[in-house]
Structure formats: C-alpha cells, structure tokens
Symmetry: C2
Subunit: 412 residues, 2 copies
C-alpha cells in the first residue's frame, strides 16, 4: 500500500472536483458489503440469476469468433459499435413497432454507460431533469455527476402521472427519465394510456424522454404494453431508448445500447470516443454470434419461468406473513417487489434490526431524487432459494408486526 | 432511420450541454475515414499490429475461464476490478520499483476510461491542467469534456522542460499529464534527470503527475528508464499511473488500469460505479489467466522485434528520401515517429496533397492544447508492410522537397 511520505505537506496532494466531492458510495453498495455472509438471507441484491446465464452458448460464441475472425475481434473498432450488432438491435426494435436503422444505434459498455453518456451530452449544471418517484438509483447517481436539478414527477402505484407534467414542472426540462416496464425499484409497469399521455406532454413541452428498458423482455404475466420508442413514431415526441444484454444474456459481459435519432447518436459517439474509445470488439462480435439466429426467443422463456416462480413464492410469503397495514406491488415481470409500510415507519431504521436477524433489503429513501417515502423498501426475489425466501419473509413479517405494535402502543 | 415527424416543432427536440456543444470529432478519426481504401498507404493510424495479437492464447483463456468459472465470470463484479488481476498489476509494478498493493489499483475499460475518470474526479470548469507540447490527442479530448484551462509545458526534442514549472505555470494546477515513454505523438522519451526534476517540481508545487504509460514495455533500443511511479517513492510527489493491455496483448479487449494512492482509488471507483458499474468480469478473468504465469515475458520480445524492424525501415526511408531542412525523431520504442518540416510549412495543407498521392499521416497541430507547431506531423510505422513504408516515404519525401522549393521560390 502506498503511504504518504514521512514529511508530507499539510496540503492534500490532490484537489477533488466539485462533482467528485459530492460523490458518495451507493447505499446499496454499502448494504451489499454486509450481506455477503452465507447465513444472510439477502433480498437487497439486484443481480440476475446465474441459473439464466447460457454459459456454454457464450463459450462457443467466443471460441467461434476467435477462431474465425480473431485478429479483427481483438483490434480497435468503431466507436459506434460493431455494424451487424447495431443492425440486429435496429431490426429487433423495428419488429416491436419502432422504425430504425443501425445508424440510430450506439453500442455501449452496459446501459449504465448509456446513462453516463446521456448525462454528459444533455446535462449542464442546474439543468432540470425529470425523474419518476421512486427512480433507479444508478441513474440518479450517474446524472448527479453532471449536477442537474432533479424534479420529481408525482406517481401512484401504476407509475408516473402524465397530467402532472404541466409547463411549470416540465418547461425547459432537458429530459424525463423513465423505466416503464417492471421498474427498478417499484416493479410497476406504466399503462398504455399513460404512455400515450406522457408522449403528448413530451411533444407539447419539447422534452425528450429517456426510456430505460433493461427488464422489458422479462414479462411473465399479462400482455406486453407497446414501448415508448414504438409509440413515439406518430407522437411528435423524441424518445431515447436504452437497452441491455445484462438481464437477457449476462451482466458480466457489460453490453448495452442507446437508440436515438442519428444526429444525437453522432454526438453521443463523440462523447463515447473521449470516454472509452469503443466497447470491446470481441464481446460485440460474440454476442452478435449468439443472438443473430434467434437464440433469445428460445432462451427467454426459461428465465421468465424461473423469475415467475421466484416472484410467486415471495408474493405468497408476503401474503402469509405480513401484518395489516403493509402493502406491496405485484409485478408482471422483472426482478423487484416494492413494499410500503404504514406511514411513520422508517425502513432504514428497520434495516438495522433486520440485519441482526440475518435478513437484508434496500430501504426506499435512496431511490427518490428529492425527499421520498421513508416507509418503503425494495425486495429482489431472483437469486434466493425458495425455502430461504419463505424464511426471510417470515422474519421480515414478524419484524414489521412488532414495529407496528410498538408504534401504535407509542401513539396510544 | 428515424425521421422527424412531418410537422415537427421548430424548437430542437433536445438541448445539448455546453460541453457537448464544444465536442468535435477527432481530426484523426476524420482522416482515418478517408484512409480505409486499400490503395492508400496510411501512416495515420495508431493501431498496434495484429501480427502481435496472441489469438490462440486468448482463445484458450476465454475457454478455460468459461469452462471452470463461467457463472461468476458472467455475473456483475466489484467496481474496483477482479482481485487477482489487481494484485498482479501491483506486483508487476512493485518489481519495477514502486511499492503497491492491489488496493492501489483500479481496473478500467481501457486506459482512455482512466483519463475520463481522472477528468471527472479532478477537473472543475477552468481548472488548470498542465500538458506536454505536443500531447496525446485522446487525453486532450477526454479532459476537455470537463472544461479545464490547459497550460502547455515547454519542451524540446527530449521532452518537457522541468525548469519551466515555476509557481506561475504550475501553481494551483490540478495535475500534470505526461507520457514519459515513447510518447504519442512525438516518440520521445523523458530522460532520467528530467523525471527526477519533474517530481521535485510536483512535490514543491503540490500537483500530482499523471503518468500515462501504454508503450513503456515496447522498448527495442537502449536501457529502460525508471518510471515516474517508481521514482516517486522517495520524492514526496504523488504519481497516478495509467497502464493498458492494448499494446501488450490486444486493444479490442478494452482493458487497462489506474494506479493511485488508495484514497484516490476509492473516489475513482465511486465515479466508475456511476459511469459503467465495472469492467467486464469475463475479460478481466481471461486476461489474468493469460498473464499470471509470465506470458508477457515471452510474448513482448516478439512484438518489440517486429516494431524495431518496422521502425528502422521507416527511419532508413526517411534518411533516403527527405530533403534538407526536414528532421524526425528516432524513437527507442513504441509506435510513432515525429517529423518536423521547415518553419512556415503547414502540414495540414500538405496532407491534402499527400492524400491525392495516396499517402496519409496526421498533422501535428491537433496534438497541441494551445496553438502548436503547424510544421509537424506524426507517422506510425507498425501496421504498414515494409515495401509500402519505403514507397510511402518516397512519395512524402518528394512532396516535402517540392513544397520546400515552392516556398523558397516564393520567398525569393
């Protein structure tokens, strides 16, 4: 470890930027550190299930690419991404109702990088940025580096309320950021009529909408709702779409994409060039090798069946063990359930007790850009074995019940 | 392609950030677009030679990792990087004279990402940043996104002049950025005594030095000069070291590292988490599999021999074909030769003529943060076959001679 010299000057050897001084480690990251013990039943993670990783298929694809096109797979490549993969993304989204060419697609190193590039290109200090309540914590962190002023869009259990997007709230916004499908953290899905109304508001107030959709293909109940990108075709609204291979193939590959009008793709590519030159050529070629023949169509039903089962086990356990006054979302897909406790309970304080009983979750407050509901929490069901889901929820339910009794005794 | 709706509002559908409005495509990138035709003899690229990519070794490593640890290689991983690879980097640099642990190492997605993270964490708008004259274009672009004020450190043919780093120039600088070994673009190497003097100035004026060292292991002539990181141990100066696997294994993997005091690594990791969560786990594990047994020690001599041969062919051709008044660097390693034409000649104007004769190079001006020497240009020798190096330099030499004659006729 490098230690300071014995007579180091009092002055620090470097000065942090204003944005770096404001950076803190994510609340989730800190919780995850204490949940790594094997005894802990952790609903705090956001990891997809490794049961769903097609390891052998990925192994064959890397071997095939290296054996047949090794030298080009290992050379520098274009910043915009590997052409055939860009075309594949455009074609897949066109089948879902958008009208795209490969030029509208920028390949990125995971959709988290998409968030960073969009922040770089669209946010100045104090720019107004509209977010859902709650919103994805990783996006709030990413945008925060560019020092925007977040404005929260009011929501209910079905998602954001488009009628709230009046001139006062929406005027001059650089963009609205939304996760319409099985949102992280709430699990909720924005209904079709609200999607249409959101796009009308976006066209009327001239703000683009960023549609972050990592979970859209993980639907295990109900019918798909058309995406904002597809719906935007006739709306006059601009939609920037973020997609990811993390939840449909494997997150350790770090591969995602941004879809945007190609003038904006060109600007995002300039920013990406300065940021990391391009995403790994080998990874792009291997993933294209996997998906080009329709692999996802046969692979996704298995993941959806697994997640549906895990989700229903947790929903049953919640119904069995939670006391009156506690409610929770019933997601149609994705990885998360959102729990709302009676008003006045603070889930951060509850977490300390839960950790002592070897159960972990993520408190809801960090998911709000502004002061949020402290009586909420996020549960992930995908990586925990069935029996441990039941045991963990039983412990949480008992803890909720105890706290609710204490609160009412205190109030009486 | 997504076209605007027929009655699109006059107002643009998005507003770019100030930093994005200032972004332009790299001069090199634009030149490379016109040099892709097979007839073109291009000395403009900065690509390493694919002859040096150990394709089969890389193929075996990916296969091994996926076969034995596939699920963990494909899962999300820690932002700081894969532990054994961090330890390997620390150990390798410790052998070279630094004293490090794995905690001082942050794995990044290519050292270009290292530059972006350092810009994020250390630069505020108008922060003073010290750079060499000339400097690496990709670093200037990367830092520019954070809107610093660049100050150029005077230099000669051996590199920067440490005695120029007085309080006026160096006071309050956020950092000095330097490529001490076989610099891109100049090919020059900073002598030992200047390295020591630079570190003294850094300690005296309290600025950290960023040592970017992608080419350091590509020495094919002379003896290695100790790196700034190793020399900093007793100097009281803070050195942040950037390394890369792009030139010693393959650039398409996108893998590099930042070495810094671990308090700064922690802050850089927070920024990286918001930027792209982490670098691909699979790639890190595969590269560790390759390097852990000492592969680079047997692999690098072959690359160095290849580059030495390519370099000497170009140096011979320059001596044979260049008219009096033209000078060039004689690098001891790396990939680039820097040519200086008589004062008054503009290499950007010359490039247009050269392209008509199917030869390409990169003009020197974009490598200067402030107004630079327009009579300079960069040549890369690594990917062009020997006969075409001779032919291309013959055409350039004739062109230089013609221009010099025209200039003197004009002046007479």
């Amino acid at each position: 470890m490098r230690t300071p010299p014995p007579f180091a000057p009092v002055q620090a050897p470097w000065q942090l930027s204003e944005r770096a001084s404001a950076l803190t480690s994510s609340a989730i990251r800190e919780i995850l550190k204490v949940t790594e013990r094997p005894e802990m039943i952790s609903f705090a993670g956001g990891l997809p299930s490794p049961e769903g990783f097609p390891v052998e298929v990925i192994q064959r694809a890397f071997a095939e690419v290296l054996a047949t096109r090794g030298k080009s797979a290992l050379q520098y490549g274009p910043t915009e991404g590997y052409g055939p993969l860009r075309e594949w993304v455009a074609h897949r989204l066109t089948k879902a109702g958008a009208k795209l060419s490969g030029q509208d697609v920028l390949i990125v190193s995971g959709s988290q990088q998409g968030l960073d590039l969009l922040g770089k290109v669209l946010i100045d200090p104090k720019s107004k940025v509209l977010v859902e309540t709650p919103s994805y914590l990783g996006a709030l962190q990413s945008f925060s580096l560019y020092q925007p002023t977040f404005r929260s869009v009011p929501s209910d259990e079905q998602g954001l309320l488009p009628e709230a997007l009046d001139a006062e709230l929406a005027g001059g916004a650089r963009f609205l950021y939304a996760l319409p499908n099985f949102q992280n953290p709430s699990g909720r899905t924005l209904p079709l009529e609200r999607r249409r109304a959101l796009l009308d508001a976006a066209a009327r107030h001239h703000f683009p909408v960023i549609e972050d959709d990592p979970y859209g293909e993980l639907r295990y109940r109900g019918s798909p709702v058309p995406g904002l990108l597809a719906l935007s075709e006739d709306s006059g609204a601009t939609v920037i779409h973020l997609g990811s291979f993390s939840k449909v193939l494997a997150p350790g590959l770090r591969l995602g994409y941004i879809v945007a009008p190609h003038a904006l793709v060109a600007k995002l590519a300039q920013a990406k060039q300065a940021t990391d030159l391009h995403t790994a050529t080998l990874t792009q070629m291997a993933v294209y090798e996997i998906v080009k023949g329709g692999f996802l169509e046969t692979h996704l039903p298995g993941i959806c069946a697994l997640y549906q089962h895990q989700c229903s086990v947790m929903l049953e356990a919640l119904a069995e063990h939670c006391p009156a006054g506690v409610s929770w979302s019933r997601p149609d897909g994705g990885m998360f359930i959102w729990v709302t406790l009676p008003a006045g309970l603070d889930s951060s304080a509850l977490l300390e007790e839960a950790l002592r009983e070897e159960v972990a979750f993520v408190p809801g407050a960090p998911f709000y850009a502004e002061a949020g509901a402290r009586n909420t929490l996020r549960l992930s069901f995908v990586t925990v074995p069935e029996a441990r889901i039941r045991e963990g929820i039983a412990r949480l339910g008992a803890l909720f019940a105890r706290r609710i009794r204490q609160e009412s005794a205190h109030a009486a």
